[in-house]
Symmetry: C2
Subunit: 329 residues, 2 copies
Amino acid sequence: MKTRVTELFGIEEPVIQGAMAWVANASLAAGVSAAGGLGIVAAGAAPVEWVEEQIEIVRSKTDKPFGVNVMLMNPNSDQIAQLLADKRVPVITTGAGDPGKYMAAWKEVGCKVAPVVASATLARRMERAGADAIIAEGMEAGGHIGQITTMTLIPAVRAAVSVPLIAAGGVADGRGMAAAMMLGAEGVQMGTRFLTIEECTIADAYKEKVLAAKDSDTLVTGQNSGHPVRQLKNRFARTAKHMESDASVTSEELEQFMAGSLRKAVVDGDVVNGSMMSGISACLVHERGTAADVIAEVIGEAEELLGLGAEKLIEMNARAGRVSAAHAE
Amino acid sequence: MKTRVTELFGIEEPVIQGAMAWVANASLAAGVSAAGGLGIVAAGAAPVEWVEEQIEIVRSKTDKPFGVNVMLMNPNSDQIAQLLADKRVPVITTGAGDPGKYMAAWKEVGCKVAPVVASATLARRMERAGADAIIAEGMEAGGHIGQITTMTLIPAVRAAVSVPLIAAGGVADGRGMAAAMMLGAEGVQMGTRFLTIEECTIADAYKEKVLAAKDSDTLVTGQNSGHPVRQLKNRFARTAKHMESDASVTSEELEQFMAGSLRKAVVDGDVVNGSMMSGISACLVHERGTAADVIAEVIGEAEELLGLGAEKLIEMNARAGRVSAAHAE
């Protein structure tokens, strides 16, 4: 599928892999890029050396374009920003902050910049600051989220900016991709859908929880503190939620309880005491496979749906009922 | 547009008007039904006599099918349920509870029953209880909401039930309707989009606030109490939110503060101290018009989008940028 997104990034299909701290390493990013999408290494709160190493590994595995995501609130974001310019990373996506001060340095060496935003106002500001594309992420996504859903955010952002628009949040299959395009998107970013693939190195127990999740199996913590985070429900998430609303718990105690929780789930496979970040779309993920399988399936299904026309789509939906019902049980 | 939803309800277009307490009266319901959609009177917490009167008024204005929504948690729901059977109301939608105990009485006299649900689990339970259709409502909707977004809820419910599926939450135009159909829906329910039409009798000041809303202009109160409600941001909503998180405020004080707040906005046009229920999709509502205008526009746009095919849709999205940008400023 060719859109302005494939053209801008020089990729084969308009499918971006979402940046997930501790999860989106060189293995995942190289897998997705080699399969024709755009793989992204998540710098997260990692040391500069780790990010540099991941860039080298991606480049050793594929000569296709890839990206790195910078969390702008992190203390070492200046150094990471400089590294990405030095390494001429093809695509830079940004989260949690304003990349304005790095934009000139990045664009001078030819990096394409796509900020992740959660509102039309921020999308417009990023376009003015020189963003090459906008990734608009609905609050059904996993990890750090905003307040606006994909269904309402994408048309609002579409009306607000003219650069290529990528929809994120809640997209995990061809139905979601086709829907996002109806809303005005020219590509999609998926995180949760890539959690269970072979190239994703997270613990298998975490993958199993994603595969088993129902639509009501995620929980948003941090809503009162203004930094909402979506994850799968488990003892960790329920305890964190409970501590947040307990006035006798200090923010230091909460912070101490949270410390290392992502690592526990991702590395140790501790699905009880670890934080398993995931979007609501885990309820739509029923398979493992490879990055190539996922991209082929999503693009194939989206193209089929988009080519049906109203009448055949209506017929298909009328028959859809129990077809995949086994997954939902 | 003909789908199983138009067939089931005997209507012309698969567009249902959402039940909104204090808002969805005979004027709005008759307007939407006369225009070929399905108008719904919201019984809300109103007395049985008021509901009976609204049914009479709708029938005096149009001979088209219409519906009534019952909030099952209300104390008088037994009486309302009986009234709807006695009056042989063509369609009954239900919210906030399990309509199981009324199902037999309703279906015996030929009423079609469509529960509003916020999860796939509840959808499946309602289908087993005899529901003729399911209205799955994402948390971008206005008023009382669940936790799951339309983008993820619709495919999850589509995989879980085989009865006709109506998507609600975040749909306010043809883009949203086409997206909902890509996700598996056979019709849409819209509430917010109908707030500003001529047949809607709410105060004009409330309509103006809907027309002016940006994507970030709604606020969800009641999140901690387990009864989340979405409304437009104003002094009332911010104060309620603040009181909720203040441990020194009793639930009686909060209840007293809330009492009559809907009436204040809807009837008095007090957009400062009243509660203006609205979905996030207010950011997509820029016009007034009539029920007939809305239905023609939404169906026309959806049919156009669904008929484009992938290539032309991609071209259109690449040009979409600034077209409606004035609305988003």
